[in-house]
């Protein structure tokens, strides 16, 4: 259970988040929508520990994450698949996945996690000796998701997983998210492809200008006029 | 630079120049050569430090090949002077050669940023030192007539003039548009470029000024020594000395390098008795402390101290 309360964050003098409050319950799929520059990535990075918030609190299963380093947050069961995948390009698929299980708790579960990842993404098993840099965008995204899964998370966060990936692979990845969720892992998804995100999620929040401007059940938001106009209207149609 | 900062710098400039002016009377009061030699060293160091300060403090680049310009100035000036050129002309020629060399390597060198510029200039300096050491390995000694006519006071007054010149140059630079442009580059080069500051031209200007002064200092060095190894003037020790003095005193300020130079030479001469390089151990450690904790050097420390004292009456 993730609880973010009144979170404020800045890049230098630039205020990126101005008081964000949201929750992600155990086993839920929650989407975070909003235009570019709204602060969605900043929010995820703050939760993951890559950014120190200026104010507010982040609680995970009751504990305050504020003082922890990013690697410690991974140990607690929160994993982030960052925007742009950020893989270790010179290393193989297997090595990338192996490194995902570096944290102590994850290390104990490494073998099972690896089996699960290969079951979810069979193409990775075939290419496990291949250097990641030479994979396609979609395959790299699978490695990125797989790497995060190797840390045996209870909450998986993803920052724009569909960016720059062929539609066929996007649906495959989204399908895998459903399966991951079914296994009991919560999903917190930042996604440009609003339609796909809302079809997948139970609930969603809308972030604009560093603040939450809307929230609700995914189905309800699909009908919401503001959302429809801003993100689902004819000009906002995504491939 | 904020207005109060500029005003206090101007006060410092006046103070230092007054001090230098007072020193002009020293040879009349004191006949001892060792005292004059000591003050000469301090004055030479002030010039050296200020010259390095121009590129580091005002244009924000760490030039680790500074000794090359000092050495070129020394080499050219001494060669010309021994052949009969009047010393002032010879020194100016030395500075000109140093500056010319700087401008030739400057444009390609400034394509490097930060640390790469530093190690690149270090390598260049070493190339020069190596070459000179191979081409001119023998010691250079003044002809007997020059030794007989050697006047320490001439060197002394030249050193005084040079030190004053370096302080004036930095003072003029700090207040000028050129100087402000340079400082903008030091703070944030990309932003400065975007707002119309021609970065390369300014950096080259700073380099020219810096190496010209260094060349003059080198010429003075060549004039001062009765005998020396030409390659010695190219030794990286001169660069490192300048770096230490400037950083410890306060890089980018007017009076910092002066303070640093005085402190450095005093400690060096005073501690050299027991342990030749002891001053380097102290300054090395001090330098690290300053980089980590107090980038503004002693000048910043003094400013903080004054702040603390100023707060007391209200507390």
């Amino acid at each position: 259970m993730l609880e973010v309360r009144d979170l404020e964050a800045s890049y230098g003098d630039l205020r990126a988040l101005g008081g964000v409050t949201l929750t992600v319950g155990a086993g839920e799929i929650v989407a975070l929508l909003g235009p570019n520059g709204a602060g969605k990535s900043t929010l995820l990075k703050s939760i993951a520990g890559l950014l120190r918030p200026r104010a507010g609190s982040i609680r995970w299963e009751g504990d305050n994450l504020g003082a922890l380093g990013a690697h410690q947050i991974v140990e607690r069961g929160l994993a982030l698949v960052p925007e742009g995948r950020r893989l270790f390009g010179s290393m193989t698929v297997a090595e990338n996945l192996e490194l995902g299980a570096f944290a102590p708790r994850a290390r104990a579960l490494q073998a099972q996690s690896l089996d699960r990842v290969y079951a979810l993404f069979p193409v990775l098993r075939d290419r496990r000796g291949q250097v990641v840099r030479s994979l396609s965008g979609g395959q790299q995204q699978m490695v990125a998701v797989g790497r995060a899964l190797m840390s045996a998370p209870r909450l998986l966060m993803l920052d724009e997983p569909s960016l720059g990936i062929a539609p066929r692979l996007v649906s495959a990845i989204f399908a895998s998210l459903v399966e991951i969720n079914r296994a009991g892992v919560g999903v917190f998804l930042v996604e440009q492809n609003v339609h796909a995100a809302l079809s997948l999620a139970h609930r969603a929040y809308v972030l604009e200008g560093g603040r939450i401007v809307g929230e609700g059940a995914a189905a309800a938001l699909l009908e919401d006029p503001h959302v429809r106009q801003a993100y689902l209207g004819p000009l906002a149609v995504r491939a | 630079m904020s207005a109060p900062g500029a005003r206090s710098e101007r006060r410092w400039a006046v103070g230092i120049l007054a001090g230098l002016g007072a020193l002009a009377f020293l040879p009349l009061l004191v006949r001892r050569d060792d005292v004059l030699n000591f003050v000469f060293l301090v004055l030479l160091s002030i010039t050296l430090a200020q010259s390095w300060n121009i590129v580091a403090g005002y244009a924000g680049q760490v030039n680790l090949g500074h000794a090359a310009f000092f050495g070129l100035g020394a080499l050219v000036a001494r060669t010309l002077w021994i052949r009969g050129t009047p010393i002032l002309l010879a020194m100016i020629a030395g500075a000109a050669v140093a500056t010319a060399f700087a401008l030739v390597i400057g444009a390609p060198a400034f394509r490097l940023r930060g640390a790469y510029f530093a190690i690149g200039t270090l390598a260049l300096g070493e190339i020069l030192r190596n070459t000179v050491s191979n081409v001119l390995p023998e010691i250079s000694t003044l002809p007997a007539a020059s030794i007989a006519g050697y006047r320490l006071t001439h060197r002394y007054y030249l050193a005084l003039a040079l030190a004053a010149l370096s302080v004036l140059a930095v003072a003029a630079l700090a207040g000028s548009r050129t100087g402000l442009g340079m400082q903008a580059i030091r703070e944030d080069e990309e932003a400065a470029e975007a707002s119309g500051v021609g970065a390369l031209r300014l950096k080259l200007t700073a380099l020219a000024l810096s190496t010209g002064l260094a060349g003059l200092a080198g010429g003075l060095f060549g004039y001062y020594h009765i005998s020396y190894y030409p390659a010695h003037a190219f030794s990286p020790t001169w660069t490192f000395d300048a770096l230490l003095m400037t950083f410890i005193g306060g890089v980018g300020t007017l009076h910092g390098p002066v303070l640093g130079a005085v402190l450095y030479i005093v400690l060096k001469e005073y501690l050299a008795v027991q342990w030749v390089d002891f001053h380097l151990l102290i300054f090395g450690a001090l330098f690290i402390a300053i980089v980590l904790l107090l980038p503004g050097g002693l000048v910043q420390a003094a400013a903080r101290g004054r702040e603390l004292l100023a707060r007391r009456p209200r507390g």
Binding site: R86, A148 | A109, R113, G120, A123, N130, F240, F247, I288
Partner: protein, 289 residues
């Protein structure tokens, strides 16, 4: 012709040592983005450590590595904890500049300390089998230098294995590539930094030992070796230890060739000149891929 071949062989053997010297610098620079210009002084200290280990304990010079390596490792841990651990708190560009300055201060302090403790005299480790020479195809190859080259290669090989097989070795490589992604994988990046720095210092110590055995040490060799290491790193680029070793060999060969062509004294200049040219040709620095 024979003289050229002779010079080349000797140059290559020295080059192996250049490669080893560069490996430590390359590792630290690649992982921590820290340019430790006191690296040469660490090599110097390693040489003195080996000298005294042999002089006081009577060990075989090559066996002294067994003591110098852990000692250097420890020194690396201390230097990181006390000094460079603070430098890595800044972001990359400030970090490189600060580390350069701090390395400079450290180099001066270590040099002064060495002069005080051991005087400016050169020290060399003398061995009973030191004078042996192998005769191969009309060439005379000092046995010592062969052993040194072999050891340098072995150490680089060991490093390569460490970085590719050891869990923390992979973590170090991951950190070098993308430290934020490494954090997100659960890697304690600060510990990776510490390990990399300690390893780098250990490599410097090993290089110093071999220098003391095959050549000589004095407090002033620091700057010289730092420059050699820098030249090789710029030549070979970052990321491959084997590549760095080869870069060292190339530098050694280049020096030998230039000494043959232009005479001994200009040996040093060719390396420095290559360095400057490569640096300027790649102004984005060593991280631009």
């Amino acid at each position: 012709m024979r003289i050229l071949a002779q010079q080349l062989i000797l140059g290559l053997m020295l080059g192996g040592l250049y490669g080893l010297a560069a490996a430590g610098l390359s590792l630290v620079f690649g992982v921590l983005k820290v340019l430790n210009v006191a690296h040469g002084e660490l090599i110097m200290l390693g040489g003195y450590a080996a000298f005294f280990v042999v002089a006081l304990l009577g060990l075989d010079p090559f066996a002294s590595l067994l003591l110098v390596l852990p000692l250097s490792l420890l020194l690396g841990v201390v230097l990181y904890a006390v000094l460079f651990g603070f430098v890595v708190r800044a972001h990359e560009e400030t970090r490189i500049k600060n580390s350069l300055l701090i390395g400079f201060g450290l180099a001066l302090a270590l040099h002064a300390l060495a002069v005080r403790l051991w005087t400016a005299d050169e020290r060399s480790i003398i061995t009973p089998y030191g004078g042996s020479v192998l005769r191969v195809g009309g060439l005379s190859i000092p046995l010592m230098r062969v052993l040194i080259l072999a050891l340098a290669f072995a150490l680089i090989g060991a490093l390569h294995l460490l970085l590719t097989r050891w869990r923390w070795g992979k973590a170090i490589r991951a950190t070098a590539e993308d430290w934020e992604a490494a954090l997100l994988s659960g890697i304690d990046v600060r510990r990776a930094y510490l390990l990399a720095f300690a390893l780098g210092t250990a490599l410097a110590g090993a290089a110093g030992t071999l220098v003391a055995i095959g050549y000589s040490v004095s407090p002033s060799i620091g700057l010289e070796w730092t420059l050699k290491a820098l030249i090789v790193v710029v030549l070979a680029g970052l990321g491959s230890m084997i590549g760095t070793f080869v870069g060292g060999l190339v530098l050694g060969a280049a020096e030998a060739l230039s000494a043959y062509a232009f005479g001994g004294p200009y040996r040093e200049v060719v390396g420095l000149a290559i360095f400057v040219v490569v640096l300027v040709a790649r102004p984005r620095g060593l991280f631009g891929r």
